[in-house]
Amino acid sequence: MKLCDMTIHELAALLRAGEVTSTEITESVFDRIDQVEESVGAYVTTARDQAFEQAAAADKRLLQARKRGSLSDISPLMGIPLALKDNICTRGIRTTCASKMLADFVPPYDATVARRLGDLGAVIVGKTNMDEFAMGSSTENSAFHVTRNPWDFERVPGGSSGGSAAAVAAGEAIGALGTDTGGSVRQPASFCGLVGLKPTYARVSRYGVVAFSSSLDQVGPITRDVWDCAIMLRAIAGRDERDATSSPEPVPDYCGSLKETDRDFTIGVPSEFMHSGLDSGIRELIDNAVRALEDAGARIVEVSLPHSDYAIAVYYLIATAEASSNLARMDGIRYGFRAEDAHGVQAVIRQSRSEGFGPEVKRRIMLGTHALSSKHYDEYYLKALKARTLILGDVKEVLEKCDCIISPTSPTVAFRIGEKLDDPVALYLMDVYTTIANLSGMPAVSVPCGTLKGLPVGAQLIGRAFDEGTLFRIAHLLEQACGESVKRPPLEAMKGGRDR
């Protein structure tokens, strides 16, 4: 196995033992990038020179720590090549949100998550492709290029964190960060056979992460296994004085809790999620996963989320309302795209936005503007905030008697590129299982649970607020029970790649 295909914890062990260097790992990753990136298109920007500098610095620190016997003070992320979704601001590296609007934007500041990874010695490989401003579920809405699913180049990697998922699946990064507003970490993780976590709302700082929907957005890891996911969450979680909504809850040692052998979990299966319209193949895999958890010692109970049918409508009303305001700062005045021949300042704002945003972003801004407009505020926005309370109530009630809720992550496997482009409602409905975690703020993880016609399928586990530890332990059980078959895309198929 190549270094670039190994997990963070495997590589961390090798680095500590002095058996490999970060520079070697980074070389392996960039070799893979050279080999497959043209076919995959995971990245918007790679930061090769900076990455090798960071790798050299990590090697130096590892060497010193080994000499001083202080390896235990060093993060398992030291020297590990990671990728960041391109809506996470990086000082000195352009941050585009895959939009023409920010194509040349170089932030003079780091997002807190980027700074935390950097402080721990991680190597930043580059910035990954995404749906423009994180609006989409396929990464086809990127203003730059499509990203292909490493399992099948004809298919999407999911979205909006499709570039991050594709990079990790293809060995172009060891792990990655994405952002999840309505499923944008979990769904691409599911499509690419990876573990993807949306942490509890407020668990991870949003400072420097370009906002889509402030009350729904969370940064989350996309990794090759649960253990790696735990390592990455521990690195990025915790109160940040720059994000007033970040939680002061202490961050536990998630990896420590993974070693616990307690299997006395209660897992809820929501009846609403296992019925209408669910692909029978996916249903079968989820049923298998449930049985596997039961076999491993968990108690399975049927539960109900009576308001879940409203989740998509509520989600899109709130998300687009907040987005319409969050994206108002994109006006072509202080940074970003400015239309050439606009006369008058309002014309500059109007034309820059019209030319700088892609169609899906404009559609959502308009939808959100509509929901907030004085005439419709009560019937849409306000109503959605109330409905959100009901949905949150459902989830809380279930989680009083269950340790987690299990469901599919997505109603389908990765779909074909171009297949769903022109039907917005159909695409929105794809988020049926994921949005409930964002609306309720609960942590949720997608774990591979099998393949369907050679394509990975993920199971979603939704846990209690700030109890990612328990969620990881259940996810780990599931991973051990049925994740093995999903570990890697058939890499042979990738060699030589296909023309884009």
């Binding site: 500041y109 400072y207 994000d243 305001s325 006006d331 202080r334 300042v345 907030l372 004085s374």
Partner: protein, 484 residues
């Protein structure tokens, strides 16, 4: 202004708070810094940057709310006010919509001898916009504009009155006292010339005695208290003219042109914004602890009403005079500093409400723009109360002090205006006057008291008003009686 109509005025004031750092980021707030040097991702509205509330800004807003007799909210939150303008970096202003920090307050003002209560609807906290400068003469002819974000994100409080004012005088009295209160509690420097205090007025007119308000016009760009007064008078007259000739006032926003002394159309109601207010998801709720509010209340300094009472107590001032001075930060500052040097509170108050006010009204300037200082003023009062110059001469000297800042003692010396109180000198002059006016002297001796006044006048004429009046009276009687 015809008396058939009544003016109805409500006022909205924005005041920059005197915190060290901005309301949602750590940038400095100092006025006059190099352009764009006090900015960061948050106050520039860069992608991903987030706000964190400055606790002192909240405390100042609570302090202002308490000083304006508002009830302070137990629970409050921030909301986004969405609109596009180049000086608004995020495309929305973080403000407060339905949970203002303070509400239902009031202020009592004294106008033309009457006390009047003006209700304050709300006091809320929000953020300042950037400074937009126009190349060329004005906003309309400018080919382009320049932006400095140093001002962006300075904390503001917005203070909204009910439409309780019925004249330009009342509006000015309200603003004067408001400024006095805000300065007293130290939350703002309230410098209208630097823009740290700005106001907008809502004006309508209605037939006297009516309860139905007329169509409301919003007035913007009012840059001084004098401008407030002029703008309201102008706008009220304009509306009365329209209404009394059978027309209808249009619901619109108008711009005060101070140079022309008139208001001009800015935008109509149909262009009114839809601000799409919604709760700011980047900031959590604020639960205001009652003990904290009471602590802030307990720490409030002396406010104008208490100050007026103290003036009444310490200097025995009439209530109206005490209020007139205490309600104005400028006047009470002059009053207290002058009294601290020279004492004589009653005399100082009399002069402030007489000569000082008259000069301010005549010149149309603010006290801070005049050359009058407490030191000069105290010297003048001292010259007068120690009998070195007469009240009449003091008045003739005042103008030079007020306009040119010259020392009263220098003026008096230069113009030879020192009062003559020397008995020998006065006796000589009195004898001369008696000798020169045998007729009136005879009249006096015949019992006509009025003749004495004439003779005093002659002494004054002889001394160009410098003779000490009491001494002159006494000596004149003495000398006349000698010759009886």
């Amino acid at each position: 202004m015809t008396s058939d109509y009544e003016v109805v005025v409500g006022i909205e004031v924005h005041v920059e708070l005197a915190t060290e750092s901005k309301v949602f980021c750590g940038c400095r707030t100092a006025f006059g810094a190099e352009p764009n040097t006090q900015t960061c991702p948050t106050c520039l509205g860069m992608p991903g940057a987030l706000p964190v509330l400055n606790k002192r800004a909240l405390e100042f807003a609570i302090r202002a709310a308490l000083a304006l007799n508002c009830s302070v909210a137990d629970y409050t939150k921030f909301d986004r006010k969405n609109y596009f303008y180049p000086d608004l970096p995020k495309g929305y202003q973080i403000s407060q919509y339905d949970c203002p920090i303070g509400s239902n307050g009031y202020m009592d003002v004294d106008v033309n001898g009457e006390s009047k209560r003006i209700r304050i609807k709300r006091v809320h906290l929000e953020e300042e916009t950037a400074k937009l400068m126009h190349a060329g003469d004005d906003i309309i002819s400018a080919s382009h504009s320049l932006l400095d974000f140093n001002r962006s994100g300075i904390p503001l409080i917005e203070i909204v009155s009910e439409a309780d004012m019925r004249s330009a005088d009342e509006a000015r009295a309200y603003l004067t006292k408001l400024r006095s209160i805000l300065l007293a509690i130290g939350v703002s420097d309230c410098k209208m010339e630097e823009g740290s205090m700005r106001c907008e007025a809502n004006i309508s007119v209605m037939p006297r005695g009516s309860e139905q308000y007329g169509t409301l016009v919003e007035l913007k760009n009012i840059a001084s208290f004098r401008a407030v007064h002029r703008a309201i008078q102008y706008e009220a007259a304009r509306q009365i003219e329209i209404v009394s000739s059978g027309g209808e006032v249009a619901r619109e926003t108008r711009h005060w042109d101070d140079a022309k002394g008139e208001t001009a159309f800015m935008r109509g109601k149909e262009e009114a914004h839809d601000y799409r207010y919604f709760p700011e998801p980047d900031l959590g709720p604020i639960v205001i602890d009652r003990a904290w509010v009471e602590k802030i209340r307990g720490e409030l300094p002396e406010l104008p009403d208490a100050k007026a009472e103290r003036y009444m107590r310490e200097w025995d001032l009439p209530k109206y005079d005490a209020c007139q001075i205490a309600d104005s930060a400028d006047l009470s500052d002059l009053f207290e500093k002058t009294c601290a040097i020279v004492g004589e509170g009653r005399e100082v108050a009399k002069w402030i409400l007489g000569e000082v006010m008259a000069s301010l009204n005549a010149t149309g300037i603010e006290l801070s723009e005049s050359k009058l200082t407490p030191e000069l003023f105290a010297e003048l009062i001292d010259l007068m109360t120690t009998g070195k110059i007469s009240g009449k001469i003091a008045k003739s000297v005042f103008e030079d002090v007020f306009s040119n800042g010259r020392r009263p003692s220098d003026i008096v010396k230069e113009r030879g205006l020192l009062q003559i109180s020397d008995v020998g000198e006065l006796v000589t002059i009195v004898e001369k006057v008696i000798d020169a006016n045998p007729g009136p002297v005879a009249d006096y001796h015949a019992g006509k008291e009025r003749a004495l006044g004439f003779l005093v006048g002659q002494v004054m004429k002889e001394t160009r008003g410098r003779a000490n009046p009491q001494e002159t009276n006494r000596i004149l009687r003495e000398e006349l009686d000698k010759r009886a």
